[in-house]
Symmetry: C2
Subunit: 375 residues, 2 copies
C-alpha cells in the first residue's frame, strides 16, 4: 500500500488527506466545507463576507454535520482610509456603464462589506474551536493571535514571497501556504503590492520550504494528481486547491462564471484590482479589459467594489458578466465536475496511484528501458 | 537501479539525460555547450547575437571537442519596421542618463544586432547538421523549416500558452518547450504580447502536455532536483534549465550580474521590455525601475537596445548595473557554483535519487506511518 511520504500536515491538523479546500468567499459553501472534511481533507469556511451571526449559524450547521476538523478563514486587511476624491473619480470612471444600464450615477455608494478579523470574530473562534484558522493579507494583532492560539487552533496564512513566509513563521504560524502567481482569487500579499514581482508556484514552493521550518502548503495552479505529486516533489507537505472545487455542485456561482470556467484557457485569467481594490486573479471580462486589469484609480480594498454593486445587481440577473468578478486560477481547464467529497477522494487516490506507479519505480538492470544516448 | 520513467526526449535527441541547457545569448558559451553535451545533457549554442562567421567558428570548435548532439538556437522575430519618431522619443527618455554620464545624446543610434533565422543561418545548419535546432519567438517560414528538417535535425521551440504549443506542433516541432512565467530571459511568446496573461510553469506544463502529442520540455523556475522531479510529475519528458547554468564558471557575465544572481530573491526579478523591446525576465535595476518594467515607449525588438549601448559601454566597465540587462529566472536562489558538466551530472543524479527514495516507495501496511486522522 502506497502512503503519503510526508504526513506533517495530516498530523498537525488531524486529517487524513493532505488536501485543503481553499476558502473562496462568495463561492464556497458550508456544504462544500462539510463534504471535503468528511472525505478526509480540510474543508474551509470563509468568513470575511459574512456577519458574525451568519458565521455562527454556519458553524452550527457544520458542527451538526461533521466532527472532522475544518478551517475557518478570515481576512486581515487594514480597513481603508476613506478617500472621497478617489471614490468620486472611480464612480466617474464607471458612470458610462451606469448610463448604459439606465442607472442613476448620483447617490450613496453602497459599501462592500469585507470585514477584517477582530474581537467579535475571535469570540466565535473561542466558542466553536475550529481545528484550523487561516488568515489572508497577513496576520491579526498579537493579542488576537494569542487568543486564537489559546483555543488550540492551528494557524496558517498565505505568503506570496519568501520574505512574507519568514514573517508568518516568526509570528507563530504552524504552517505556511505558499500562494503562487497562478492562484485564483485574491493575492495574499501583505508586504508590498507590486504585482510585477509575484512568483510562480514552481519557484515559490521550494524557496519557501528552504526558508522556514514549518510545513509548506502549496497553492496556485494545482487541480489534479499531477499537481499534487509535483507540489510534494517541490517540498510541500500538502496542497490547497481552489478553482477545481468551483466545478462542484456545492459551489455557489453565477451561471456565467460557471460557464466561463469551463472554457477559460490559462492565459484568459489575469490579476486585477478593479473588483475590490486588491489584486486577485480572475477570468478576463469587460471591466478588466476596459479599466484594468490593474488600475491605479481603483479605491482601496474593499471600497472599489461598492460602486460596482448597482451594476452587478442590474446585469447579473440578465446573465451579463461585464461587471462581476469571475475568480479562477490558471489551471481551471483541469477541473472536473463532481461532488466535493468525491473530488477530494479522487484527487488523493489518483495522486497516490501516480506516486506508486509513475515515478520512482525500481527498475532492475535487465528491465531497464533502452537508453538512446551513446556513452 | 532507478531509471528515468519517461525517456522520449532522450530517445528523440540521442542523449543520456533529460536535461537541456537553455541557450542564453550573450551569457552561455561554447565551453558550456560542450561541457553539458559531454556530460550527457544537451548543450546549446545561441546564434542570434553572432554573425554567421562567428557561428561557423564556434561550431568548428564544438565539433572538435565533442561528438555528442548539441542544440543550435535561433530567434524567429519579424525584423522591426523602423519608426523614427518612436526611436527619437526613446532617445529623449534616455537623454538624462546620457547627460549624467557625459555622453553626447545626439548622433547615430548604434544598432542592436539580433538577426532572425534566414538562408545564411540555414546553410550553417545544413553544413554542420546539429542534432537539435531550437527556435524562439515562433518558427521560420515553411521552406526554411523543410530545409532544417531535411538535415535530420530535431526541431523544438518555446510556447508560453497552450495555443502557441498547438501551432508549434501543427507546424512540425518534434518537441515543445513549455516556457513558464518564471523563466529568465526573453519570453518566447509569438501569439499576442499581453504579459498580464502569461502562465506559470506549474499550470502551463500539464495543460500543454494534454494539448499536444509530442513530448514537452518544461522550463521556468527549474534549478534543482526538486524542480526536475516536479516537472516530470506535471507531464514533462525533460527540462530546460537556464539560470542555474549562469552560476557555472563557463558562463560569460558582467561581475555585477554574477553578484546580483547570488542575492536576488524570486520577487527581485520582473518581466521587462526596456532592454530590447521584447519582454524578458531579469533582476530589477535602475532602468527597469525608472522606465519600466514594461514601457509602451520602448521601440520594437531589438531596436530598444541600440540607444542603451553607449550607456552600457560607459557604465559596465565601472561595474555599474544601471543600464544592463541581468537576465534571471525566479529560482536563481537555488543556483550552485560548479562547472557546467558537474552541474548536469549532479542534477540528474540528485533527481534520480529523489525519484527512488522520496516518492513512490512502497510501504507495507505494517510499516505504514501513523495516520493522524480519525476515521
Amino acid at each position: 500500500m502506497t502512503m503519503w511520504q510526508d504526513i506533517r500536515i495530516q498530523s498537525l491538523f488531524g486529517i487524513e488527506l493532505p488536501i485543503l479546500q481553499a476558502p473562496m468567499a462568495g463561492a464556497s459553501t458550508l456544504e462544500m466545507c462539510i463534504a471535503v472534511s468528511e472525505a478526509g481533507g480540510l474543508g474551509a469556511l470563509p468568513c470575511a463576507m459574512q456577519t458574525p451571526d451568519q458565521v455562527r449559524r454556519a458553524l452550527g450547521s457544520i458542527a451538526a454535520a461533521t466532527r472532522k476538523p475544518i478551517n475557518l478563514n478570515f481576512f486581515c486587511h487594514t480597513p481603508p482610509v476613506p478617500d472621497e476624491e478617489r471614490e468620486e473619480n472611480w464612480k466617474k470612471r464607471l458612470t458610462p456603464y451606469y448610463i448604459e444600464h439606465g442607472l442613476h450615477p448620483i447617490g450613496t455608494t453602497p459599501s462592500s462589506a469585507r470585514a477584517p478579523f477582530d474581537d467579535t470574530y475571535c469570540r466565535l473562534v473561542e466558542e466553536f474551536r475550529p481545528g484550523v484558522v487561516s488568515f489572508h493579507f497577513g496576520l491579526p494583532q498579537k493579542d488576537l493571535m494569542t487568543r486564537v492560539k489559546a483555543t488550540g487552533a492551528k494557524i496558517i496564512a498565505s505568503a506570496t514571497t519568501v520574505a512574507e513566509a519568514r514573517v508568518l513563521e516568526t509570528r507563530g504560524c504552524d504552517a505556511i501556504i505558499a500562494q503562487g502567481f497562478e492562484a485564483g482569487g485574491h493575492r495574499g500579499n501583505f508586504i508590498g503590492d507590486n504585482m510585477a514581482g509575484q512568483v510562480g508556484t514552481f519557484a515559490l514552493v521550494p524557496q519557501i520550504a528552504d526558508a522556514v521550518r514549518v510545513p509548506v502548503i502549496a497553492s496556485g495552479g494545482i487541480a489534479d494528481a499531477r499537481g499534487i505529486v509535483a507540489a510534494f516533489a517541490l517540498g510541500a507537505a500538502a496542497v490547497q486547491i481552489g478553482t477545481a472545487y468551483l466545478f462542484c455542485p456545492e459551489a455557489k456561482l453565477t451561471p456565467f462564471h460557471r460557464q466561463a470556467l469551463r472554457t477559460a484557457n490559462a492565459d484568459d485569467t489575469m490579476i486585477t484590482n478593479v473588483f475590490t481594490g486588491r489584486p486577485a486573479r480572475g477570468i478576463v471580462n469587460r471591466l478588466m479589459r476596459d479599466v484594468g486589469p490593474l488600475s491605479e484609480h481603483a479605491p482601496a480594498f474593499p471600497l472599489a467594489g461598492g460602486a460596482l454593486m448597482p451594476l452587478r445587481q442590474k446585469t447579473e440577473p440578465a446573465n451579463i458578466s461585464d461587471f462581476s468578478s469571475m475568480w479562477a486560477g490558471q489551471a481551471s481547464r483541469l477541473g472536473r465536475e463532481m461532488p466535493a467529497g468525491d473530488l477530494t477522494r479522487t484527487l488523493a487516490a489518483e495522486a497516490l496511484a501516480k506516486l506508486s506507479t509513475e515515478t520512482g519505480t525500481e527498475v532492475r538492470d535487465s528491465e531497464a528501458p533502452v537508453q538512446a544516448g551513446t556513452q
